[in-house]
């Protein structure tokens, strides 16, 4: 069916090259996308996917090469021009006004002027046609990640795009929401629309994509149909190396509960925050304890309390090695050898405007000796920074590079490396591999497992169930500020976890 030249060459990348000061992001990229297909763009963070897509969407212009779109050379220099040509994009991070309603957001997103009733009709049309139900009067803040994404997709569909670019669309969705999204994509493709699907989840490529282009280090490694590919063969191409399988091992866990959270409740009186209700759990020495749950169920609020950034809890206690630390600030907790990695890298666990060396200083542990009487020990800091860069394979021109110049995965490796190089007794980490590539993901998970074997207790808060099942020993689920009883990971039943995440406790 898709055999004439026009259909096979709906989008043609021709020798696209884009250089940045210290890196070639795209090196002579050429491949085609067929009309009416779901085409996966697979690659690690820093492989050049985002740069390529930004060129396609008019956010960047290529140094060399051009793009053929619909049989004509694509000449655009802004996203609004791209939209006029029929190219739409759904970003990984939603660009919605949280306090406005769905309807307001949709109206704001439209480039052309359109009458109100006309819009209403169009919306109903799109909603029913593509399985995208929306409550137009709901404020964005009250929506789940999946619903927000639906708003984004509808906003793009209002402009009737022929090519829809989706950037890691499933990274924030629940399994049920993912299924719904795939259904929507199916309807879109059936109509002859084309989808460029950026991802690093291998199963998704196999499941819903017709073709796949694999990028590594700014180059196209392969562009082929997904029919004769397996998750393993794709991973090999993407990473260029074989991944070891990881196994859960309980043998090293000691039966000493060194971290106990006892009946913590905290109400915020803020519609944007989730109140925590009677949270209790215990972590044993050498154990990795996972906290699963859909985003927005109290994870970040709990994280703030565990790190000591928020010490204003209504009741309950936090006990570490028999000491009640609920009133300790983060530095006081670090002095007891507790390390933290919050979810947000830029501006929270790292300062983008500062160099890597300076970022080392954000968390000081008792055995670091980064300062003597308040005066910096630059040698020690620099040595530590270089040790982290080397041991955790952080790709960077040097320790004097700004944190903002690193890709997400590299910065996360650096931050986690900084924390675990101190060999903490307890590590509390939120979304350790969120938004980073499979290679970095793998090395981070491996590092966490290694750390736990050396006797460190680890608490992992994550939305990524695969991750939790891969690395943790026990998992509990947080839902609307309440934490479930823990389940043994090696005997865990996925459907039971799924039910708990949806708030159904038996």
């Amino acid at each position: 069916m898709l055999n004439n030249k026009y259909n096979n060459h709906f989008v043609e990348f021709k020798n696209i090259t884009k250089k940045f000061p210290r890196v070639i992001a795209n090196n002579n990229i050429s491949f085609n996308i067929k009309k009416g297909s779901v085409h996966a763009l697979l690659g690690e963070n820093g492989a050049g996917k985002s740069t390529l897509v930004k060129v396609l969407y008019g956010l960047l212009s290529a140094d060399i090469g051009y793009i053929n779109f619909n049989n004509e050379v694509l000449k655009i220099n802004s996203p609004s021009q791209a939209r006029k040509k029929g190219i739409g994009m759904v970003f990984q991070h939603f660009s919605l006004f949280e306090s406005l309603t769905v309807r307001d957001n949709l109206i704001l997103g439209i480039d052309d002027q359109i009458s109100y009733s006309n819009l209403q009709n169009k919306l109903q049309d799109i909603s029913s046609k593509y399985n995208l139900p929306l409550d137009l009067d709901a404020p964005i803040t009250s929506l789940s990640a999946g619903e927000k994404q639906r708003v984004e997709i509808v906003r793009i569909l209002l402009q009737d795009p022929q090519l829809l670019i989706m950037d890691e669309p499933t990274s924030v969705l629940t399994p049920k929401e993912v299924e719904n999204l795939f259904l929507t994509l199916n309807y879109l493709v059936k109509e002859g629309r084309t989808i460029l699907y950026i991802t690093h989840k291998l199963e998704e490529v196999i499941k819903i994509c017709n073709d796949v282009t694999i990028m590594r280090n700014g180059k196209v490694i392969d562009s082929c149909t997904t029919k004769d590919q397996t998750a393993k063969s794709l991973a090999t191409k993407m990473l260029g190396q074989k991944l070891e399988d990881l196994k859960t091992d309980y043998s090293h866990i000691k039966n000493i509960e060194n971290f106990i959270v006892n009946n913590i409740s905290c109400s915020f009186n803020d519609p944007f925050l989730t109140d925590l209700k009677n949270i209790s759990f215990q972590v044993r020495e050498g154990e990795i304890y996972g906290i699963a749950g859909v985003a927005g169920n109290g994870q970040s609020e709990l994280m703030d309390i565990l790190t000591g950034e928020n010490t204003l809890i209504d009741e309950g206690e936090i006990i570490f090695n028999k000491k009640n630390i609920k009133l300790f600030n983060p530095q006081q907790r670090r002095n007891l050898s507790i390390a933290f990695v919050p979810e947000n890298r830029l501006g929270h666990s790292a300062v983008p405007e500062l160099s890597l060396t300076e970022n080392i200083l954000l968390s000081q542990f008792p055995n670091n000796q980064f300062s003597i009487n308040g005066i910096l020990n630059e040698k020690a800091i620099d040595k530590y920074a270089n040790k982290v860069i080397k041991n955790f394979n952080v790709v960077t021109p040097g320790s004097d590079a700004l944190a903002s110049s690193l890709s997400g995965g590299n910065l996360q490796k650096f931050v986690i490396g900084r924390e675990i190089s101190s060999i903490p007794k307890l590590l509390i980490i939120s979304h350790p591999t969120w938004g980073i590539d499979a290679g970095a993901e793998h090395s981070i998970r491996e590092a966490l497992i290694k750390l736990s074997k050396n006797g460190t207790s680890i608490i992992v808060i994550s939305q990524d169930l695969d991750e939790l099942i891969e690395i943790t020993h026990r998992i509990s689920v947080i839902f609307e500020g309440k934490l479930s009883e823990p389940l043994q990971t090696d005997k865990v039943d996925i459907s039971r976890l799924g039910l708990l995440m949806g708030g159904k406790n038996d």
Partner: protein, 357 residues
Amino acid sequence: MINFLPSVVSRSQSSKLMSLFVPIIAVILTLMTGSIIFSLMGFNPIFALHTFFISPISSAYGISELLVKATPLALIAIGLAFCFKNNLYNIGAEGQLTMGAIFGGGVGIFFHDTNGFWLLPLMIIAGAIGGALWGLIPALLKTKFNTNEILTSLMLVYVALLILDYLVVGPWKDPQGYSFPKTRSFSDSGRMPLLFSGLRIHFGLFITLFLIFFSWFIFTKTIFGFQLKVSGFSPSAARYAGFNQNRLVYLAFAICGSFAGIAGLAEVSGPIGLLYRDISPNYGFTAIIVAFLGRLHPIGIIFASLVIALTYLGAEDAQLFMQIPAAVGFVFQGLVLFYLLGADFLVNYKLEFRKNK
């Protein structure tokens, strides 16, 4: 649709080199604008700019006067850098300067008939304490009641000026002063030693240079300097690191206030020698321009203080030789700040005119 207004677009990468050149570009543009203003007023711009910027510093006396003016500007500006680096907009250095002059000058007046090597150091310490206390008021209001430090520090300027006013016409009035609003003169050992006889440049220059070096050390070599920087860039990273943010607010304001206080004391115990109403030609406000023109960097602030001090001298000469009001100095200071902020903005953003076909 009317699209004649350009849209502001963020540059994906702002040039580091350009941002270093911004102060120089701002100064050049200021000179160009200044020459246009002068020619509109009917002066030969070359002559006017020469009168304004060259002739004031073509003698040893001129250089000395330049340094006399630059000294307080640089000292206050480096103090302001402690606040500005932490995103605390302390606009009230003029008030802190006045309080420093009152505290330090008060000591000088109390010991007006006593001489001793200890008097000047005592006055300097008192000046620092006065400025610091005045600076701590907005800090306290900010941390306890979350008030805006821009408003409170600015309002406290006027309070400080009125206190000085009250003192010089009231309790501290010179008994032999024929009711002029001024105090007694300080004793000789209450005066800043002059560096050269016949020139007004005084020991305050060394104090300033020392404190600039001290600040450079704090900024680059200490945990405290690092904490200021981090909490300025990203408050949530500072919280994550466990820095005590209230403590940083107090310290920044106290240091800034004490520097301004020392600058005020150096003025009254240096060129002036007593207290009266107008001890400062807005040094505390002008230092804000110096701090930004110098990029909050110690070396930058030294150069910026010289440039801005020159506008003070130039204005005096322009008044003398060209019969134009000395306020033209403020015009130049305003132009520098305007171009500085404008160029800064354009380093990070660009204007795009939409082409509609």
